[in-house]
Amino acid sequence: MDLSFTAQELEFRDEVRDYLRANLPRHLSEKNRKGLRLDKEDYEEWHDILRKKGWLAVSWPTEHGGPGWNVVQKYIFDVECGLANAPRVVPFGFNMLGPVLLKYGSEAQKNYYLPRILSGEDWWCQGYSEPGAGSDLAGLRTSAVRHDDHYVVNGQKTWTTLGQHANKIFCLVRTNPDVKKQEGISFMLLDMTDPGISVNPIVTIDGGAEINEVFIDNVEVPVADLVGEENKGWTYAKYLLTHERTGIANIGHATAQFESMKRIVNAQTRAGKPLLDDPYFAGRLAKLEIELEAMRITNLRMVAAAAETGAPGPESSILKVLGAKIRQEITDVARRAVGPYALPYIPEAFDLDFDDPVGPDDAAPIAASYFNFRKFSIFGGSDEIQKNIYAKMGLGL
């Protein structure tokens, strides 16, 4: 039993760490550390930096421009990026569509799309959820009807994260309405610049607008943009959802977020006494730190198992739930820490160069983050769906 990384792995970690220290722009890490919002330029700047280093499409094989890392390396990279408050790589092209094309795409699709993902020429978003198909993803209704060499697609997608920046969307669509719902779904690639596609932002509870509704009105999709076989889309969708689940708990980001929160907590006094002298508050913080450390080890155990067996088991569902809960709890403790100063909502304070804060440093986005982070237990398979999965796959119920 040995919880530490091997010398080789530690060397790799140090390489990543050094690289991030030298190359991660401070204005990006500061935005993340403070919980501020990133814009399109921020993401692209970070993508450009990683691309130069060859670390952008981490799960791709070397022949397509990936670094060829193993499970542990990918995990270490994830964690280090999180700890360094690096922006996340927008996953839709690099970590979702890419692996699907690599496994199920035609040679033509791979040759055309993968380089465009890597170069940033195409910015992809995900067309999975629909207004009527959330947890019941397979209940989707967007239809694709074949006409000669193309499909005509009609429907609506929703919760499309960062869809406002995308020029491409991969969609699950119904190609056969007459069979069991999972068996009539296909996986297609659509062009967002098509006049039949319109995007509406959804303003969220925290006042942010990074998710969208996407309306699809008579959009023609060439048969060449069908991925794999018609009506086999559910298989590809599931592959996408369970791919690379070792990073699902976001331990690096959670740890960085915890450290940011702790910094805020440490700076608070109430009526002349350090906040941490309040035993209830100290207890809250300690509990969370313990839960976080437990999750870190639980995640390592899963990575070690995946490194041995090649694929993470059903415990990735547990980690999804834990990861969401812990990140939510961190925002909860943070909002408590600043007391009445959780109340002010000053939109300009979400900009990095805002220099006239109300209340304690970094207090401005705290309440908004608390509300925004509710999404972690909803998106990517809600807690309820994860528990259904684990009850079945993990416990055999």
Binding site: S129, G132, A133, G134, S135, D136, G139, T158, W159, I202, V203, T204, I205, G207, I211, T269, R270, A271, G272, L275, D278, Y280, F281, R284, D332, R335, R336, G339, P340, Y341, A342, L343, P344, Y345, I346, V358, G359, A367, A368, Y370, F371, N372, R374, K375, S377, I378, F379, S382, D383, E384, K387
Partner: protein
């Protein structure tokens, strides 16, 4: 034993409830928030005319109510509508302080009619939730005083024409004795008010006082003896937000249950899934228990401060926990749609959670309860 309000109170509640249902849906609320003051002066005056503000103050102090049950009744209705008008700041706290301490400027009747907005500027950047912690000083200056200090997150202080400012005239920074109250014109030289919206739809302000000169007549109540009136006002406000939470939680429950009944996934209403059912029962239970504690707090509101405050702390602590449960479950059960600002539930949840940040959070009140009940 009787859990029905008196006829008279029911009439107030009905009047308020039907006005709000007719005039104050979430769109109207948004328009109110979009006004410069962050609330609707028109609504405020109309509700003043209806006597609702007066119901929050006793007849000896210029109103015609003001008991615990009055506050509970009015604020539960306000919670259901998420009214953003200056209920806590002006309608409740300022009016009760003016009523209790005397009202040399003759402000109270205009406050109760909704003509004038007066705000309480008491909490400070360093005070946390401790009402005794007053760093702001008032030093004698001829016949009057000179005020210096900072006040934090003072509700509606950006719109109020007058501020009730607490300042230390003697004692250590956390002494109960030595706090004096002044009525300060918000336009006085040396008063700097920085207003902002709060995340739950209200307005508040940071108030900087730099050598603000006030005359002796600005002093209300007794010199050095102002804290009691502030604590009484905070007690009323604590009861108010607890009651407001009840209204909010009831709406959250209704809206969420309705959603569970209509939203279908996997070919049936999601409310037919047992895991969600049981969690909704926990939510409903927490609301019933919260309501019971608010009834209790209202029932002893006129008793001595230690009895009153123990019951208030019990309610506020419990609602801090229950509010979080109810709010978070409401969003989780709504799923993605619960995250959208256009969905009504999110406004209710924001207010519900942020009430934990007013007048002492759940930890503060548990600690106070434990101390008072030993």
């Amino acid at each position: 034993m009787n859990f029905n309000h008196t006829e008279e109170r029911r009439m107030i509640g009905d009047a308020l409830g039907s006005w709000l249902r007719n005039e104050y849906d979430l769109d109207a609320r948004q328009r109110a928030m979009d006004e410069k003051a962050g609330f609707s002066h028109k609504a405020w005056r109309e509700l003043g005319e209806l006597g609702i503000i007066g119901a929050l103050v006793s007849d000896t102090h210029g109103g015609f109510g003001g008991q615990g049950y009055d506050i509970a009744l009015v604020f539960e209705e306000l919670g259901r509508a998420l009214s953003v008008e200056p209920w806590l700041a002006s309608g409740l706290m300022a009016s009760r302080i003016l009523g209790e301490c005397g009202d040399p400027g003759g402000l109270l009747s205009d406050v109760l009619s909704g003509e004038t907005v007066v705000a309480l500027a008491h909490g400070e950047p360093g005070s946390g939730y401790d009402p005794r912690w007053v760093e702001t000083t008032a030093t004698a200056d001829g016949a009057g005083f000179r005020l210096n200090g900072s006040k934090a997150v003072a509700l509606n202080a950006d719109t109020a024409t007058r501020l009730i400012v607490s300042a230390r005239t003697s004692g250590a920074v956390d002494d109960a004795h030595g706090v004096t109250l002044f009525v300060v014109d918000a336009a006085s030289p040396g008063v700097k008010v920085r207003g902002y919206a709060t995340i739950d739809g209200l307005r508040a302000a940071e108030v900087e006082l730099t050598d603000v000169s006030v005359e002796a007549s600005a002093l209300i109540g007794e010199k050095d003896g102002g804290l009691g009136a502030v604590e009484n006002a905070l007690a009323a406000a604590t009861l108010a937000v607890c009651s407001e939470s009840i209204g909010i939680m009831e709406v959250a429950l209704e809206v969420t249950v309705e959603y569970l009944k209509t939203r279908e996934q996997f070919g049936k209403p999601i409310g037919s899934f047992q895991a969600l059912q049981h969690r909704m029962v926990d939510v409903a239970t927490a609301i019933e228990q919260s309501r019971s504690l608010v009834i209790k707090a209202a029932s002893v509101f006129e008793e001595e401060a230690s009895t009153r405050d123990a019951a208030l702390s019990a309610a506020k602590h419990y609602i801090g926990v229950a509010g979080r449960l109810v709010g978070e479950e409401a969003i989780q059960m709504h799923g993605g749609i619960g995250m959208a600002k256009a969905t009504p539930i999110n406004h209710y949840v924001k207010r519900l959670i942020m009430i934990d940040h007013l007048f002492g959070d759940t930890d503060y009140h548990l600690e106070r309860y434990a101390a008072l009940s030993r």
